[in-house]
Each structure stands twice: as structure tokens, then as C-alpha cells.
């Protein structure tokens, strides 16, 4: 220890040095930590607002009322009805009833065409003031309405109408939450009977919903969160955390519009259609094939997607009504109209009351099986062409262009092409006269129709509206690009049947229209429409495009590269 003798003397100085050293280091440390904390304290990523607050993914933006004030007309003289319950008198005088909900004066019901209804009061409104004096509970309201009223003169009634909350409560009363897809009874216990009466399989919904875990037996729960929620969002709004990065955006089930299905036009898809999408995926999108999931899990997921779609569509309809100032149904009305379990022939009764929104939506789903597009059978030869079988000579060599069989094939292609450019089908105006999908590039999907209406506005206004929509949870709008028919990727499936259906009934929610088909027996008129048999020629033409030499350059490059690798 010869060297350490001096350390004591220098200790104070060295300590100063290293304390400063460490102070410097600690300052740096603090800086990094501060940045880190700043990062942690930064506001979390935008919450997607509850659909109840604003409908953004649809075609418009709506605002819901919160505290309107109305002029309530009074009858000329006091009501005669009496008794212990003042509701009889209220009903007679105003056509409404009050309930005592948590001490507040809540309107329990309104009768159509009576003063309350014509003044715009609605079920669920909480009366907060009458003629300027504030109302705290039901007796106060009754007193003001029946005892202090000046008969014949209208009175100013202010109500607290949290429509957003009302709608949320309504949904809860029918659908539960997406995590717990069953109605919660008054006593808090789950009550699956209502959803069952609409034909939902509660068991399937339950394995799909909620958090991810496996039972001891290996049964997987939370299937939807495991496989779907990253893109399609917890409530099926098509805006999961990953959605913004996908091209195209994932489907928003709440709109009830599905693209690739077997049914006509705007009809709902069948259960089998959704199964097919889930099993095969959607080529050319981020939707992968879930073929290797067990069939029961896929079934459960499809059932759950139907549930989310019905729930979402109901929500949108309720919001529409509220925004238009119409009466929101009561829970009982909303849940009415059932049961909608198909009978032996697959028929369900159509609900008549327009307040039975859920039943109305479910009905469209249950009827989808009746609206399937079944194409006319193509000729035997056409079937072969569509399957890629070329006309052959007897010895198996490809038939020459002037052989009758090949001539017929070429003629079919020519007919298809003529339709492609023709006025009835008018395919080329979008898909481009070179079939590269570049005929138009400025149109929008249905859920960005709000964006389309901004096209004519000055850029600054446009940006402001877009920002508003995005703040409400809408994804940044994108143009919809027509399919590049030479790429050989078919989102709705590559079966001739699929392409036929796309042409025949269009693609729901997109600018792709249904072809105009001539009525049976009508005289051929290429300007007015095509016959169903001719659609097959068009299918034949579309299916042949990826294999034309013109479509091939990338493949040739690839061939060269392969050559190099070897």
C-alpha cells in the first residue's frame, strides 16, 4: 500500500471532483428519465369514440341533442282524472307518464299526437326545469305540470336528454357489451334469452367474446380478440390498432354492408358467405385465410361478427333517429318483434313495428339465404373454357386459330370484350381501357362518401372537415381503386361463379354497380343490357386477361431471374 498514503490528503478534492462527475452524470440521467416520463405521460393514442357519440364511418356526421328546451302546450282546462297516481292525469293532459328514476323526473312514455309528443318530448328525457324554475324530482314536476299550470298557455319545459347515454343504455339492454354478449337483467344476472330469441347462438358468442384464455380442456376463449380485433376493432368498427396501416382498410361491420357475398345487391351476406371469407381470406387485402382454425371456432367467429354487425347497425339506426329528432324506442319496443328463429322452411316473420329495430335488422340477415344469386348454367363448352381447358386437336395438341372450336372460343372472348367496352356494362370507364384498373381513380367507398362531397370545396375547408372526422375516429380517407384485372388477384374469389356474381349484382358499398340485365325474352339490345348467358362471355374475357401476353412482362423478368439463379 505504498501508493495509497497520499489519498487521505487529496480526498476532499477528489471527492469534490467525483461528486461533480456524478452530478453531471445524474443530470444526464435525469434528462433521459424526464424524456422517458414525458413519453409515458404523453396522452395515450386516440380513443375511438363510442359510436354513440358520433357516426363517422358512415356517410355523414351527426350531432345528438343534450339539453333541449321545448314549449309544452297545455289543454284548455285541467284534467279530470285523479287518484293516487298522478300519471293518469298527466296522460290525460299531456299524453305522457313520468317515472321516478333515482329521484329524478324521467319521462316514462309519450303518446303519439298528444301535446308532449308534438312538443318533441321523448321517452327518457329528464325534466330539469319548468317555466324557469328548476325541477329536482318527480313530485316537483307533477306539481309544476298539474297544479301550477296556466291552462291554455304553453309552458317552457327544459329537459336533460343525454341521447348518447340513452342509446348506450338501450344497446346494453338488448345486446350486452361486445365483451359480454348477453342482456343484463335488472338484478344484474345475465339473461341470454333475448339474443336467443333473435336466433343467436349464445354459446358461440361467448367463446368469441371477451379476453383471451384457454380452458383446461383446451377450449379457446376470446377468439375475436385473438384473431380479429387487431384490425376490425373490439366493437367491429373496422378501426383496430392495426387498421390505419392496412390497404384496404378492414371492414366496419356496423354498417351491415359486406362486399363479397352470394346475395343480390344490398342484401346481407349469408352465413356461408362469411364462412367462405373467413376460410379463404380475401386475396389482395390483409385479410388472411383462417382455413386452419377448427370449423367450430370459425362458426363461432362468424356468429359473433353477425352479432357485432346487428348491434352496430341497430346503433346506427338509433343514432339516425335521434339525430333526425324522432322518438327513440323504449327498450321494450327495441327488443320486440321477435322471436326470429327460422321455421322448418327457413322462413321468418317480418317485424311490422318500425320501433322493433333489432328485429328489423336481424330479419334482413335471416332472409339472406332467400336472396342468393344462382347464375344460369353456362354451356358445356364455356364451362371448359372457364376451367382453363383450351380446344385441342384429336392428338392433344392445341387447336389452331382457324379450327372451329378455337374460333368459337375467340368469338366468345370478342363478345366479352365488346361488352367490356360497351355501354351496357361500361366496365372500361372504371377498370380502364387497358384493364389496369386506372379508368378512374377518384371515387370513394361508401364509408368515405362524406369525403367525396368535399371534392368541390376549397382545400382548407376540406382539410378542416377531414380533421374533424378523424378526431371522431374515422380513418384517413382513401380513394377506392378499381381492380387491376390483369393481375389475376380476385378479392371476392377466383371462381367463375364469384366473378359472375360480382358482375351480376355489383359490389355492395362500392362504386361497382350491377350490370343491367335484359328482361327474359326481351330483344337483344347491347345498349340497354345483356342477357345472363352473355355475362359468361364477360367472365370468360375477364378471366383470360391475366394470361394474355401483354400482362406478362413481370413474369418474363422473373423467368430471367430464375435463369440466373440456376
Amino acid at each position: 500500500m505504498r501508493l495509497s498514503g497520499m489519498d487521505g490528503k487529496n480526498l476532499n478534492r477528489t471527492m469534490t471532483t467525483h461528486i461533480f462527475n456524478s452530478r453531471v452524470a445524474l443530470t444526464l440521467a435525469g434528462l433521459v428519465l424526464a424524456l422517458g416520463i414525458l413519453g409515458c405521460a404523453a396522452p395515450p393514442p386516440k380513443f375511438r369514440p363510442n359510436l354513440v357519440q358520433a357516426k363517422t364511418a358512415g356517410a355523414e356526421k351527426v350531432t345528438l341533442a343534450s339539453t333541449p328546451e321545448v314549449d309544452l302546450p297545455t289543454p284548455d282546462k285541467a284534467p279530470v282524472a285523479g287518484g293516487k297516481d298522478p300519471n293518469a292525469a298527466l296522460e290525460q293532459a299531456y299524453g305522457m307518464k313520468l317515472s321516478d328514476d333515482a329521484g329524478k323526473a324521467v319521462i316514462e312514455s309519450v303518446v303519439a299526437d298528444k301535446p308532449a309528443a308534438s312538443a318533441g318530448l321523448m321517452w327518457g328525457d329528464v325534466i330539469t326545469s319548468i317555466n324557469g324554475s328548476s325541477i329536482s324530482d318527480r313530485p316537483a314536476a307533477v306539481k309544476a305540470l298539474l297544479e301550477q299550470a296556466t291552462w291554455g298557455k304553453p309552458m317552457k319545459v327544459k329537459v336533460d336528454r343525454q341521447q348518447g347515454q340513452q342509446i348506450a343504455n338501450l344497446l346494453l339492454a338488448v345486446f350486452g357489451t361486445p365483451d359480454h354478449p348477453e342482456r343484463v337483467s335488472a338484478d344484474g344476472s345475465p339473461d341470454p334469452t333475448l339474443l336467443k330469441s333473435f336466433g343467436f347462438d349464445i354459446d358461440k358468442l361467448q367463446v368469441s367474446a371477451g379476453r383471451v384464455y384457454s380452458e383446461q380442456s383446451g377450449r379457446q376463449h376470446g377468439l375475436y380478440r385473438l384473431h380479429c380485433a387487431h384490425c376490425h376493432g373490439i366493437s367491429g368498427d373496422g378501426a383496430g390498432p392495426t387498421a390505419a396501416f392496412l390497404n384496404p382498410y378492414p371492414r366496419d361491420y356496423r354498417q351491415g354492408k359486406f362486399k363479397f357475398k352470394s346475395t343480390l345487391g344490398a342484401e346481407k351476406p349469408t352465413h356461408a358467405d362469411l364462412m367462405r371469407i373467413l376460410t379463404d381470406g380475401v386475396p389482395g387485402t390483409a385479410m388472411p385465410s383462417f382455413r386452419i382454425l377448427p370449423e367450430n371456432e370459425r362458426e363461432a367467429l362468424v356468429e359473433y361478427v353477425e352479432y357485432l354487425s346487428v348491434r352496430g347497425e341497430t346503433e346506427i339506426k338509433l343514432i339516425d333517429r335521434a339525430a333526425r329528432g324522432e322518438t327513440i324506442p323504449t327498450p321494450a319496443e327495441l327488443a320486440g318483434g321477435g322471436p326470429l328463429v327460422p321455421d322448418a322452411e327457413g322462413n321468418v316473420t317480418e317485424p311490422q313495428d318500425e320501433n322493433n329495430i333489432v328485429a328489423g335488422v336481424v330479419y334482413t340477415w335471416r332472409m339472406a339465404d332467400k336472396k342468393i344469386v344462382a347464375p344460369v348454367a353456362p354451356s358445356e363448352e364455356m364451362t371448359k373454357w372457364l376451367a382453363g381447358e383450351m380446344p385441342k386437336n384429336a392428338d392433344g395438341s392445341p387447336a389452331s386459330a382457324d379450327s372451329p372450336a378455337e374460333k368459337r372460343r375467340l368469338a366468345s372472348l370478342a363478345r366479352g370484350q365488346a361488352m367490356f367496352y360497351g355501354t351496357a356494362a361500361n366496365c372500361f370507364s372504371c377498370h380502364g381501357d387497358s384493364q389496369l384498373g386506372d379508368g378512374q381513380t377518384t371515387d370513394y367507398d361508401f364509408w368515405f362518401q362524406w369525403r367525396k362531397s368535399l371534392d368541390t370545396k376549397p382545400a382548407a375547408d376540406r382539410d378542416k372537415v377531414i380533421a374533424e372526422f378523424e378526431a371522431l375516429g374515422a380513418l384517413p380517407p382513401r380513394n377506392i381503386k378499381p381492380r387491376d384485372l390483369r393481375a389475376g388477384v380476385y378479392r371476392g374469389g377466383r371462381r367463375p361463379l364469384d366473378i359472375y356474381r360480382r358482375i351480376f349484382s355489383g359490389i355492395n358499398g362500392t362504386p361497382m354497380p350491377a350490370i343491367s340485365v335484359l328482361p327474359a325474352g326481351a330483344a337483344p339490345d347491347p345498349k340497354k343490357g345483356v342477357t345472363t348467358q352473355e355475362i359468361w362471355d364477360l367472365v370468360h374475357f375477364v378471366k383470360s386477361l391475366p394470361y394474355q401476353p401483354l400482362s406478362q412482362p413481370p413474369e418474363q423478368l422473373e423467368a430471367l431471374r430464375e435463369h440466373q439463379i440456376q
Partner: protein, 400 residues
């Protein structure tokens, strides 16, 4: 031990460069250097060796990509001129010589002469950059540069290439027509040019109408008639000249022609006849042939059957040469990779030249006597390195 006296432990001159900040009064330490170099020169050599690896990475990339490519353009296809490149090489070599002369003068303590040589080096460096800039401009004006989201350069004339040409033409037409309808006159040079030409053409046409009217009227003098006829002919010629300058017209023509090609490309005579009865039947016309008619290729195409590296050069002419402002997509086999590597290599080399010039500029503010010889030597080493890199780049990019 008197560590206050820095002269007692003479610093042996080896660590001076890095220790200009010494002077806290601590012990001046003695060292046992392994190399007979100053620290500054040692670190410069080490730095240059890392630079060698940097350029080795870049040049290696070039070699790998070039010889792995299916096709590679000829130099003049991409407007590369060997004489200009050679001239630049010469300029850079000269600047290496002048920097050595500056060092010699500084060592001999001839500060003025050293500065003279240094100025010359600086000027030569600037000339090199100027020529480089001229060359870059030539590329840009022909549409050769990397571009997001999609390159301007197409590898092959195919239906997608023609679609891109058409898209660009549509875009030009939209741009110009919007521009012409904007209140307050055209905003772009093309728009103004178009408007000026339109005005001129209108005036000329007025004159023509007047002359034609003159010609129709009975006249006394045959001389006058001849003069009017001559004037009409002159004005007609002028009008033709103006029309020849009208880019919009050309763009529209092109568009129509491209559309014809599109229809032909459908390879369906039946449709062709139904939609365009006025046009002759397509016969053997292929898309490529028509695309070439619209836009003569800069070289012959490779074919899957043939040797991809064997290419016959064609004269580099086309619509983009005549009307560069149209900025049409161009078609060069291997052109994308060529542009990527060319701008990468020459760009990083030019960055090094710029750094060298900055250092030279700083040196020019100093008196370049013997005490600065070390500095001049170090920057000279760097400059030789930059020169050496160019000596590799020139043949790689221009000659092979």
C-alpha cells in the same frame, strides 16, 4: 519532480497535434510511439482506411448490383459522356498535383506561393463540382432520377409503361388546362408559353384572314395580288412555326395516339373494327412497335430468349429529348438500378469533395508557412484519397 516545467519532459513532437488543449499544469508525460508519425497524421491514415471501407461498401454494392442485373444501360443511353468524365478526372488529378506543390512551397516556407497553389486546388475542386452539377442536370432534364412513390424509369415497354405515359399526358393536359383557366393568367411557364403562342397564333390567323379577304376582293394590280399571296404564304408559314411550338397540341396528339395503341393492344380485331372503323386494321402491329413509334426506345429490348446483356444501342432521341418539360416516363432497361448506383457513388464522392473544399477554404484564411505544412499534408492526404476514389469510379461508371 518539477512537473511545472513542461520543457523538462520534452514532448518529442509526437503528440502535439492532439494536445493543443493541454495546459492544466499536470505532468507532461513522455511516450513511446510505435510509428514515426505525428498523431495527426496517424489518425488521418486510420480515418482514410475507414473511408476506404466505406467506399469499398459502396463500390462493392455497385459491382454486385451491376453484374447481378438482368440488363444494364449503355453510357450514352443515360446521357453519360466519357469525354466530360475524362476531363473531370484530369481536373481532379491536376488538383492533386497542385496540393502537393502547395505542400512543397509551405515546407520551403514560401507562404505566398503555397497559397497560390492552394487557391488553384480550390478552383480545380470547384470546377470538378461544376462539371458534376452539369452532368446531374443533364440526367434530371431527361427524367433520370430516383423518385417516390414510383420511378420515372421503366424497364420495359409494356402495357403498364404505356399506361404510365398516358397517365402523365393526362396529368400534363389537366395541369395546363387548369392553369389556363385560372383567373389572373397562367401560373406556370408552360401555361404562359401556351397563352403567348395562342395569342400569337390568333394574331397571325387574323392577318391570314385579312390577306385571304384581300385576295378574294377584286384588285387592280397584279403586283398587289402577288404581294398579298406572298404575305399569306409567309403568314401561313409563321402559323405553322407557332403551331410546331405548341406543346399542348402535341400532348393531345400523343394522348390520342396512345389511346389507339391501347385499343390495338387489346388484340381484338372485331372490337377494333367496331370502335374505330376509320382506322386500318391492326395487322401485325404489336404494342411494343407502336410504343416505339410514340416513343423511340433508347436501345433495343432484351428478350427472354436472347442474351440479356447483349444490347444494341439506338440513338437517344425521343419525345423527352424534344419536349423535356413533358417529363414523360422513360424506358431504359436496367435504368432504375443504374440511376440508383450512379447517384449513390457520385453523390457520396461529391460530398467528400465538398468537405475537402470547405477545409481548403478554411486553410485559405491562414498563412501557409512551414508551421502549417502538417495541416496541408493531412488535408492533402485526404484530397489524394478523394482523387483515388474518383480514379476507381470513372472507369466503373463511364467506361465499362
Amino acid at each position: 519532480m518539477s512537473e511545472h516545467d513542461p520543457h523538462q519532459h520534452s514532448n518529442s513532437g509526437h503528440s502535439d497535434a492532439g494536445h493543443s488543449d493541454a495546459g492544466h499544469g499536470h505532468v507532461k508525460l513522455e511516450y513511446q510511439p510505435a510509428l514515426p508519425l505525428s498523431n495527426g497524421k496517424t489518425i488521418m491514415w486510420l480515418f482514410l482506411s475507414t473511408e476506404i471501407m466505406f467506399f469499398a461498401g459502396l463500390i462493392g454494392t455497385y459491382i454486385v448490383l451491376r453484374f447481378g442485373a438482368v440488363a444494364w444501360p449503355e453510357p450514352h443511353t443515360v446521357h453519360l459522356s466519357e469525354p466530360i468524365g475524362a476531363f473531370n478526372t484530369f481536373v481532379l488529378i491536376c488538383s492533386s498535383v497542385t496540393v502537393v506543390l502547395a505542400l512543397e512551397c509551405a515546407r520551403a516556407n514560401k507562404a505566398a506561393a503555397a497559397k497560390g497553389w492552394m487557391v488553384l486546388t480550390f478552383v480545380l475542386g470547384c470546377v470538378f463540382l461544376g462539371v458534376k452539377g452539369y452532368e446531374y442536370n443533364a440526367k434530371f432534364s431527361h427524367g433520370i432520377y430516383p423518385k417516390l412513390p414510383r420511378s420515372q424509369i421503366w424497364e420495359k415497354a409494356g402495357i403498364r409503361y404505356v399506361a404510365a405515359v398516358r397517365d402523365r399526358l393526362d396529368q400534363v393536359i389537366t395541369e395546363i388546362s387548369t392553369d389556363l383557366t385560372v383567373a389572373g393568367g397562367p401560373k406556370t411557364a408552360e401555361g404562359r408559353q401556351q397563352l403567348a403562342l395562342d395569342t400569337q397564333a390568333a394574331e397571325v390567323q387574323k392577318k391570314i384572314a385579312k390577306f385571304q379577304a384581300d385576295l378574294k376582293q377584286p384588285s387592280d394590280k397584279t403586283e398587289g395580288e402577288t404581294a398579298a399571296a406572298n404575305a399569306l404564304a409567309a403568314e401561313n408559314k409563321k402559323l405553322d412555326e407557332i403551331k410546331a411550338q405548341m406543346p399542348l397540341t402535341i400532348a393531345r396528339d400523343l394522348k390520342q395516339r396512345v389511346r389507339k395503341v391501347e385499343l390495338l393492344s387489346a388484340q381484338q380485331p372485331a372490337l377494333f373494327a367496331s370502335k374505330n372503323p376509320a382506322l386500318p386494321p391492326p395487322g401485325q402491329a404489336t404494342l411494343d412497335a407502336l410504343a416505339e413509334e410514340i416513343y423511340p426506345p433508347h436501345h433495343s429490348e432484351f428478350t427472354p430468349e436472347g442474351d440479356p446483356h447483349a444490347m444494341k444501342p439506338n440513338p437517344p432521341e425521343g419525345i423527352n429529348d424534344r419536349y423535356p418539360w413533358l417529363k414523360l416516363p422513360i424506358k431504359i432497361s436496367g435504368g432504375n438500378m443504374w440511376a440508383s448506383t450512379y447517384f449513390l457513388l457520385t453523390g457520396f464522392h461529391a460530398l467528400h469533395v465538398i468537405v475537402g473544399l470547405i477545409v481548403f477554404a478554411i486553410m485559405l484564411t491562414l498563412t501557409l508557412n512551414a508551421s502549417r505544412a502538417g495541416m496541408i499534408e493531412n488535408i492533402g492526404l485526404y484530397w489524394h484519397f478523394v482523387d483515388l476514389v474518383w480514379i476507381f469510379l470513372f472507369p466503373l461508371l463511364y467506361l465499362f
